[in-house]
């Protein structure tokens, strides 16, 4: 059954097609059943293929299934072909696993929405596109999936299109991604130019056999990384992700936390041999990741919207993954991607459960004391928060520690310090969120209080399952110091991602790095407990003390305004000027002029058609005289 892996993306694709055509006429129960079963089938197939992969010798990898030759022009060719190897297996399992739980959760969350079948059709389409992205065996097909998930992201952010903010957020996401994708497309073109093909096997071979100069590799990697910055919301193209929270919460969990936004990390890991050729590009990746991780975390410190805090946290965590990739620890980046997919989608879904209970209230200042009313949501949210904060024995701790220790071991203490700083802030803002939303006094508006209830089982069961994974996923890749053969995740990925050259850390150093990570988490949590539990007056005093800094953070460094002033407005003004002076005058003038010219000629010729017999006869006579005159003279 392993050979059937190429069906994994096609099942949700087929389901999307059926829902697209017949969706509005089908009963709701049918729609939800079909959408969920399609993803479940993909999940089962992924599991089977994964188990098959465990028994396949590394020499036989990757499995490639070519469905048909798609483009073949001159030297350029691209096949519709799927690819299955350990890296793909990890991604398909994450996408279908988390995706399936979110589909189930959506059945409850979207139960009363008018666009029910449209929602599930799009969710299936997204799953299809994302699986296409991770299973494509060449860059061209990957780009198709890459654009497909971008399209779904746009459609689902703007799902409630009657809301102007949602429509605008969808457009913003789409346009910002266009900028990144332009770089990505150029990267693919250069890849073709220098390598002669876009098949991953050809790229890896060229990278291994030295068929690529370092300059060419740097150029390609940087261009592709621009695309990754757009899709994975890194500086400078991160601005669309916080706004993307206008979409339904399960969408935020699936697309804007667990899967799509990590596509950049997957892409870099997929091309790890190419990236390893270019130390300069890797440095850029690591630097962007580190700066983003810290920068986004600072903004999360003061936000009041529960979903936006999580959005900034996502940006920051993806920064962590890029630190991992940038220091050459691609597997650690992928590990964090996997654990992050679990705990971040858990956090989003739990936040969705809160929103569901409070009739859509998102401001944490108007929550408080929800622990009593939503015990299950609270418990699962707390587990997610503990995991992301890096509390020992939960998944986030192990994956974050894997990245940080590799960064330190790879000789990048500055990156390590930046990561640690971001980790402290992560722990702080997560527990600020937990304490403000679930503890303390109730500050609910009467409107929100009316329907206060725990969510139905169809929503809470996915939460519980994700909570289990948020705890357990970390045990797939324990640090070597805890035991020799416990880093299963990393050894599973070895056929794709070779372990770094640097030898294992001395156990003393590794223990101290682990202790540093624990201390970072503890410091952040302790600070939050003091600020929002014991001494609730401190935050106010701090705001009073540093009003400028607070305003800067609250307004997200005024980045939207700066982009607006520096890029958007000049572009708008420029376009308007061109419209006024070139379009209206030159182009319209030429078009209207042609019409007017025809009119004038017509009006002149019109006067000849008097309709009177005499005039025509006169014309005949004049013609006769002219001909006769010409003959006689």
């Amino acid at each position: 059954m392993t050979e059937l892996y190429w069906l994994i993306p096609l099942i949700p694709g087929l389901s999307f097609f059926i829902l697209l055509v017949f969706g509005p006429k089908l009963p709701k129960a049918w729609v939800s059943l079909q959408a969920c079963l399609a993803v479940l089938a993909s999940l089962v197939l992924s599991l089977v293929s994964f188990l098959g992969l465990l028994n396949t010798p590394p020499a036989g990898l990757p499995l490639v299934k070519t469905l048909f030759q798609w483009i073949s022009v001159g030297r350029f060719s691209a096949a519709l072909s799927f690819h299955f190897d350990p890296l793909t297996a990890v991604m398909t399992l994450v996408v279908t696993g988390v995706g399936f739980l979110i589909h189930v959760y959506s059945v409850g969350y979207m139960a009363r929405d008018r666009g029910y079948s449209r929602y599930f059709a799009l969710l299936n389409l997204f799953t299809f596109a994302m699986l296409l992205l991770v299973m494509a065996s060449n860059m061209v097909l990957l780009f198709v999936g890459w654009e497909g998930v971008g399209l779904c992201s746009y459609l689902l952010i703007g799902f409630w299109y009657e809301k102007p903010a949602a429509a605008a957020a969808g457009q913003k996401a789409f346009i910002v991604n266009r900028i990144g994708d332009a770089g990505f497309l150029l990267g693919i073109l250069f890849l073709f130019l220098f390598v002669g093909g876009t098949e991953f096997r050809a790229i890896d071979q060229a990278a291994l056999q030295g068929g690529l100069s370092q300059g060419a590799a740097t150029l390609i990697c940087l261009l592709l990384f621009i695309g990754a910055c757009g899709k994975s919301a890194q500086i400078p193209l991160y601005i669309w992700l916080p706004d993307a929270m206008e979409g339904p919460t399960p969408v935020s969990a699936l697309i804007h936390a667990a899967t799509m936004v990590t596509a950049g990390v997957y892409m870099v890991s997929r091309l790890n041999l190419l990236y390893s050729l270019s130390p300069a590009a890797l440095q850029v990746v690591a630097l962007v990741g580190a700066v983003t991780a810290v920068y986004a975390a600072t903004m999360a410190l003061v936000q009041n919207d529960i979903k936006r805090i999580l959005a900034y946290s996502t940006i920051s965590q993806i920064g962590f993954m890029f630190i991992g990739c940038g220091v050459g620890a691609y597997a650690a980046g992928m590990f964090h991607l996997t654990t992050h997919a679990f705990f971040k989608s858990l956090l989003f879904l739990a936040a969705g459960s809160v929103l569901h209970a409070l009739s859509g209230e998102q401001d944490i200042r108007k929550m408080g004391g929800l622990r009593k009313h939503l015990p299950l949501t609270y418990a699962t949210f707390l587990i997610g928060a503990l995991a992301i904060a890096g509390v020992p024995f939960l998944s986030g701790f192990f994956s974050k520690d894997a990245i940080l220790s590799r960064a330190y071991a790879g000789g990048h203490p500055v990156l390590w310090a930046a990561g640690l700083l971001a980790a402290v802030m992560t722990a702080f803002y997560m527990f600020r969120l937990v304490l403000l939303a679930f503890h303390g006094q109730e500050r609910l508006e009467p409107e929100a209080k009316k329907h206060l209830h725990e969510s139905p089982p169809v929503m809470t069961i996915p939460l519980v399952i994700l909570a289990v994974f948020s705890i357990g996923a970390g045990y797939l890749g324990l640090p070597v110091v805890l035991g020799k053969n416990l880093d299963r995740f990393f050894r599973f990925l070895e056929p794709v991602i070779r372990p770094g050259q640097e030898g294992p850390l001395s156990s003393g150093l590794e223990w101290s790095l682990i202790l540093a990570s624990v201390a970072a988490a503890a410091a952040g949590i302790a600070a939050a407990l003091v600020f929002y539990g014991r001494q609730p007056r401190i935050p106010g005093r701090l705001v009073h003390r540093f009003p400028g800094l607070y305003k800067l953070l609250l307004n997200k460094y005024y980045m939207d305004e700066i982009y607006g002033a520096v890029i958007v407005n000049p572009l708008l003004r420029g376009s308007e000027a061109v419209y006024d002076h070139f379009d209206l005058k030159v182009i319209d003038g030429a078009v209207n002029g042609a019409g007017r010219l025809a009119g004038w000629v017509g009006r002149f010729l019109n006067s000849l058609q008097s309709g009177r017999l005499k005039d025509y006869a006169l014309g005949l006579l004049a013609g006769l005289i002219i001909i006769l005159g010409a003959l006689l003279l």
């Binding site: 006067s607 000849l608 058609q609 309709g611 009177r612 017999l613 005499k614 006579l621």
Partner: protein, 100 residues
Amino acid sequence: MIPLSWFLALSAALFVLGVAAFFVKRDLITMFLAVEVMLNAANLAFLTFAKKQGLLAGQVIVFFIITVAAAEAAVGLAIILLVFRQRKSIKTDEVDLMKG
């Protein structure tokens, strides 16, 4: 023997008369008659030259012209009749529907 030039002069005079009448008169019947006069002026010229050259071709063409003129008269008169029925007038000034 009357010189040929007299015939030609008569033919020319008839043709000019026809043209003049065609332009001066305003009712279709008279204009139609003017056209007939012009046709017959042409006939006379043909016959004159046929006589001078001693060729039959000129006389044959005259037969054709007479035949065509008869057919034309039939069609033309029918059209004039219909115009009159429609518009109660055969003045050309009043029939200018084809104005562009």
